[in-house]
Symmetry: C2
Subunit: 434 residues, 2 copies
């Protein structure tokens, strides 16, 4: 995109050579001089075009204006993070580069994440300009290309891989799976080729595809969503076998119950706001940093209701009757590993107690007034995904429960008249209004 100053200089040199080989004709020389001055002017203008910063080899903690990492490395000195530079070894996949995914990608890029994998098949439109990240001049580019352009300018240290594909197609899913499995960036670590998958898609089907992939690969992921009325959203942590998967329970929204299907009709579009999407992206990447760099508490579910400034949290256990076979496999593995986890927890507890005895006389750190180290005392409403009536206050189901959905399917498969459809709509509304 940036104009090549060198290229323009080359043109001026060519003009210079041309001038010397020209016959002695004053009018020819005058027009050539004018031409050379135009090119020279253009060269000056081009010098102000975007120039990229150099890559840096190590993250420095030096406090100078020219250090892009000084304020991040300061997290160590503040006692928040043990070793910030570890972030360069991590690899994160972001599925969906829209209003949430693009901002999440920019935040991780500015934090100096090691490697980002980006998936989207959409193009940038002017209609996306009410959210952060994409610029009007990028209209018509694929979101993946536009994102790589912007992100590589912001931080050339991050390894960017982009995939312009729909993960919900057969071939797209295959490429998605193999890209996640590629371990060349982190060959010596456990698991697959990424440390975390972030789902930033805008529809149920794509979420189910991410869920399927992560269940199959035994890969921890985080889901995010913003309601169709733009004023609420949520993030959720999904650990295969340990927490509810996306198929274990109908998706939850902290929303006013607008049905996704009614929105996809022609001429009707969902509302969106840069604020809600920015907050959700911020919470998502904050959870990502806490998860990767091991500080603070990662909420299993965190909602955001912007009208009331209400942020519900909860835990969701897996559903033993989950319809996803890979989820059931992961649940079985998790159960089998329970004795090993218990033993490890007991050993850790014993070690902590032994240490506590030896440091008993030390005062508590003065800036620990929030008692942040003790994760267990956080009050969380815990729910069992299989029992449908236990939604915490203020949460509503985005889709009907599995049972209700079956009834719905039965009703749908029958010969439906306009009146039947109206009944159906009321039934859905009643379910949402519970």
């Amino acid at each position: 995109m940036s104009m090549e100053v060198g290229e323009l200089k080359g043109i001026n040199q060519d003009l210079e050579t041309l001038k010397h080989s020209l016959p002695q004709d004053p009018s020819l020389h005058a027009s050539l001089d004018q031409l050379m001055s135009r090119v020279h002017h253009l060269t000056e203008v081009a010098k102000f075009s975007p120039s990229r910063r150099e890559k840096v080899k190590d993250m420095s903690a030096e406090v100078v204006d020219s250090n892009p990492y000084s304020r991040l490395m300061a997290l160590q000195r503040m006692g928040i993070v043990d070793n910030y530079e570890k972030i360069r070894g991590y690899s994160v996949a972001i599925v969906g580069i829209g209003g949430v995914g693009s901002v999440a990608a920019e935040m991780l890029t500015r934090c100096g994440i090691g490697r980002l994998l980006l998936y989207d098949y959409d193009k940038v439109e002017l209609a996306n300009m009410n959210r952060l990240f994409f610029r009007p001049e990028q209209v018509g580019m694929t979101k993946t290309d536009a994102a790589v352009q912007t992100l590589s300018d912001i931080n050339p240290d991050v390894v960017l891989e982009s995939y312009t594909l729909n993960i919900a197609t057969v071939q797209g899913f295959e490429t998605f799976m193999s890209s996640l499995k590629d371990k060349s960036f982190r060959p010596n670590k456990d698991g697959i080729g990424v440390d975390l998958v972030l789902s930033c898609v805008d529809n149920y089907e794509a979420r189910m595809v991410v869920n399927q992939a992560c269940n199959e690969l035994n890969q921890t992921w985080m889901e995010s969503g913003v309601s169709e009325d733009a004023v609420s959203g949520h993030i959720q942590l999904l650990i295969p076998g340990e927490t509810a998967c996306f198929a274990c329970a109908p998706p939850l929204v902290v929303a006013s119950g607008v049905d996704e299907r009614t929105l996809k009709r022609e001429g009707v579009c969902a509302a969106s706001l840069p604020t809600t999407m920015g907050v959700v992206a911020g919470l998502l990447v904050q959870s990502t940093l806490k998860f990767l760099l091991k500080f603070g508490h990662v909420s299993p579910y965190l909602g955001y209701n912007s009208l009331k400034d209400y942020f519900p949290t909860m835990e969701m256990r897996p559903n033993p009757q989950c319809s996803n076979a890979a989820c059931l496999e992961r649940q079985k593995e998790y159960q089998l590993a329970q004795p090993a986890r218990d033993a490890a927890a007991a050993a850790a507890k014993a070690k902590l107690e032994a240490e506590a005895l030896s440091v008993d006389e030390c005062p508590l750190h003065a800036d620990n007034e929030w008692n942040i180290s003790v994760v267990d005392d956080i009050e969380l409403s815990t729910m069992d995904a299989s029992s449908s009536d236990e939604l915490p206050e203020g949460l509503a189901r985005e889709l009907p429960t599995a049972d209700a959905h079956q009834n719905l399917s039965v009703a749908r498969s029958a010969d439906t008249s306009v009146e039947d459809l109206d009944d159906l709509r009321k039934q859905l509304e009643a379910l949402n209004a519970d």
Copy 2:
């Protein structure tokens, strides 16, 4: 900044003309052809340079990809906002274009705010790249210039005014005040020239200056802040006379009590994260939209503790012993207007009850399961700014209370030895650890 395609086309035309007036020399013609092809290539590259979108006269709700406002106008159809287009009549001042202010400015710009006034005296540094908004190519520019460059590209419909000055100097304060008072953008509205002031500064002194200006001008404002350890922040609504002003109570932070003064020492810098600052900017502009477009509930105070995903809210009443004379004046005016407010509230209640009687048979709207219309039933812990012991759980004072501060001043004015200073530090820590 953008390369002129027209300029390059002009050069190529000149070359064409030159070619025709050249003598028949094959080598001359060959080198000229090569030159023309280089210029042609450059023209093609330049075509991808930033081009700005045209201004639009009215906000359209039309659902087409080319409409930058369709997803915002959809807020009306969703029943969230009565008249979104009103946003074009509003004027917002943002003081401090750093990690929070710049993102807030971008959000408001993308939302299509009428007019933005931007104040900062700092320059863009590579050390700012760990937060959203500024790009490495803008290093060395003033933050105001860089912001205007980016924001005018994103949305040419917004009227941008930038002031490269320090509001904490005598002349800076004068210009700040007169710019706020300029009513040319909204001549027919009550109050001064802006609808809201957002404080996004990073130090106590600048906050006190914004507080002074807004108390003098009787101007509602919102304050924002992020802790020096980068993992918590807050926003606060300040209505002169009605809520606590910034001088009524020592500033509160949802933080781990790092003292700002210890951070300003040479070689020590505060940590910052794009996540925390993005969340705080998102909450701040969400409150701004709710305040301007009159939807949802605007929290008087909203904290964000990212380690625990904890978001405390509370109200703060003004301090009748506030040290700020303009605040006391506003308090007196507010008290005098109490009977008028009571009468208006009673009339509104009577009207609502009369309406409720006539629509009694209508069912509640199905998507109102959050009872969002009733603002009064939100549970808020209310505190009196003048009584220092009533901090809600989880909140700590950033600075000592007024009384403690006086004791501190006494201690400071005495002949202080190193031991005294150490005592002082412990005293401060004890206050913060309460």
